[in-house]
Point group: C2
Chain length 433, copies 2
């Protein structure tokens, strides 16, 4: 495996675009059609469709989709004490960081007698999807359920695929129990998304669906969110990615490990290194080879590395400019005085500062959310937070004197826009004063 | 014109669903295809396509799309003093309310030695679309440009359709000048959305597009936002709507005027009255007829009224429950002690409290934003605010001791999820300590 190396200064603008290009996302009409069929089936046949689809895709016959409270309680005994402690610590840190995100209500008098407010309201019913494809992802459950709980959602529904014996991964159940998830269902894939968007006999309908997943899950979220009678979705899907900025103070072994920890996510993952030192780039190349061989998921990581680039930059300032242009999901700044670079970072999902902050900390337990905008969406989307489980309601209340003062302004503007009934709604009130 | 009247208590659950059903949004494949063609044309041919499309749709030949600074400055002299004063007052109130929306940065130590932050960053380049179909909408320019300015967007691009003489409505230009809009272009319709999403020789590419518009504009926003290389959009489109809750203290003339001020927006607008008094419902029916005849836009309003419902409810509590189920874009509470009902309101875009607060105040100048979630999206979307022009970047920084404390937790969870390279990225650091 040889990763491409480029020198930024020697590239033309269009070559630079190419170097920073993401791998194209597969547009597969067969996936689209399969998902359309699954959604239509679940809408028409409810639980019966879920049962049949679960037999087909998960190879297990499920009679009762809801995981019982007893089963959730029993999950604890199936985990080791260190695993439980790790999950509890992660939950605690994510809770601490997200608790600081609560929005204060706004209450402003904009004109004497005209009071304007903004109130925060939780979404009532939300759906969390926790995949368990190559491995169960209890960390994903933490990253969604904790902000839902802090937001104050009344009903938090969680779906996770059943294992071959029909049970759900105990770490996911343990997290659900400790984070206020209301109900858990053993159903996965596009059928789980369809069930939460439209409801079935056993699965309640939700107004917004969160969570990662494979191409079928992502397509299902996209389809139900395009339907006004479906459910909203969290973030646009895309392959995971990391960009590392390193200067000569960084250790090659660490830089290579950081690049590979992203590459093992999937064959479509992308990793980019921006480095001021040619020597370090060479050393990283060697380390990548060595470390890759030792990885159980080396085939996936090796494939992902073919999408990846090592780029020589002239300065750290140039690295920051390139990074902002790329807008990475994860940005590791492994340089001297990394914190001083922070004010210049405009586009990034989450930033990992200094030599002692691997991405894994944020993926699991530093406290920040690991659901982040990828594929360049960091330019115009935020990672998951409490706000995405809430919405704002604005309020205005005019007194008689407030309407006397501001009503004529509204009348003038309504007239300017030829909206006579808008003007009249003010006039019928003013005339009675 | 006779508006349907229902008694909530006498309806079955499925009849209740029907009464609260929105008019179906037209799914018109011919619009979709026309918009696809326009977008492809603008992507391929840039300004030349814009010129040709503007000739075709706006019947004017535009040579230079950018509105000059001199032209923007001259707009002031084309407006009356009262119009200028009204626009200035609206801008000032919207600014006052939106200035209160700035998010504080978060800085939390979740574990000793592990510092987590959330920083706010403006979107760099945003596009505002201001339609001018049946009438120019300078108020829409205010509602988008003021939060963009408060958010700190570096480049705010505004597009508005040219009039038959090639100029842009002076009220829109006057607002642009006073709200920090960077550049203004005379181009409208789906072609304006395509130009902002992909860029042309004269129009810069933006990362997110805001603004109302007709079916072509809405479809274009939807298409470019589905393309990862396009631009994000603000809110899903839908027809405007109001729900009025009234008790016997409300005046029929006022209630009717409020219903009609929404109905005049478009034939697909929907208005709903929830009222505890049969007498008031009858009086409102009569008033609707009288006031409708006097409206210049009576044809539009009369058509919209056929989508509309007057509903008798048993109590104000029942009215609140029905309103939350409907999730109206605008909610007027014209009752005794309206403020006491506010805590029970869970789903609404914006609320207008008491007898002296017509929707027109919020549409123009109370200070709240008039870009609001319609069509039931108030369940899971907020109206426009400063946040939609910003994104959050999270940051974490571990010290050596922070990594010693929290690294093993990340290692345990990575192992639980079978992500060995994630574990290794921690280990290579811990081993060097």
């Amino acid at each position: 495996m040889k990763v491409s190396v480029f020198n930024w200064a020697e590239l033309s603008e269009s070559e630079r675009d190419t170097v920073l290009q993401r791998p194209a996302m597969v547009e597969d009409e067969s996936i689209r059609q399969a998902v359309r069929d699954i959604i239509a089936d679940v809408q028409a046949n409810g639980d019966a469709a879920l049962r049949e689809l679960t037999c087909r895709f998960d190879r297990v016959d499920i009679d009762r989709f809801e995981v019982t409270s007893e089963e959730i309680d029993a999950a604890k005994s199936l985990l080791t004490k260190p695993d439980r402690r790790a999950l509890k610590t992660a939950i605690a840190n994510v809770r601490t960081f997200h608790a600081a995100q609560s929005s204060d209500d706004i209450d402003v008098t904009t004109t004497p007698g005209v009071r304007c407010e903004r109130l925060t309201r939780p979404m009532e019913t939300v759906g969390l999807y926790v995949p368990a494809g190559t491995a169960p992802l209890p960390s994903a459950a933490i990253m969604m359920a904790v902000p839902a709980q802090i937001a104050g959602c009344t009903n938090t529904v969680l779906c996770a695929p059943p294992r071959s014996d029909g049970t759900v991964d105990p770490a996911i159940l343990y997290v659900a129990r400790r984070t206020g998830v209301t109900r858990v269902f053993r159903v996965g894939g596009a059928q789980a998304i369809a069930a939460m968007a439209y409801g079935t006999e056993s699965i309640p309908r939700v107004s917004k669906i969160f969570g990662p997943g494979n191409a079928f899950v992502a397509e299902a979220k996209s389809q139900v969110s395009a339907d006004p009678n479906g459910a909203a979705q969290d973030l646009p899907a895309g392959p995971s990615e990391v960009l590392v900025i390193a200067d000569e103070s960084a250790r090659a072994e660490v830089v290579a490990a950081d690049l590979l920890s992203q590459a093992e996510h999937g064959e479509d993952s992308q990793v980019v290194l921006l480095c001021t030192s040619s020597e370090l780039i060479e050393a990283v190349q060697t380390e990548l080879q060595t470390q890759l061989e030792a990885l159980p998921r080396s085939a996936i990581a090796a494939e992902a590395m073919t999408n990846s680039r090592l780029v020589r930059v002239a300065s750290i300032d140039e690295a920051i400019a390139v990074s902002n242009r790329y807008a990475p999901e994860h940005l590791i700044i492994n340089t001297r005085d990394a914190r001083s670079l922070l004010p210049a970072i405009t586009n990034a999902g989450s930033v990992f500062l200094g030599p002692w902050t691997p991405e894994s900390l944020g993926d699991y337990c530093s406290g920040t959310n690991h659901v982040l905008p990828t594929y360049g969406f960091a330019r115009n989307y935020s990672g998951l937070g409490v706000e995405q489980f809430q919405k704002f309601v604005t309020v205005q209340e005019a007194s008689e004197s407030g309407l006397r003062a501001l009503g004529p302004i509204a009348q003038t503007l309504a007239t300017l826009e030829n909206l006579d009934a808008h003007e009249r709604a003010v006039r019928v009130r003013l005339e009675s004063l």
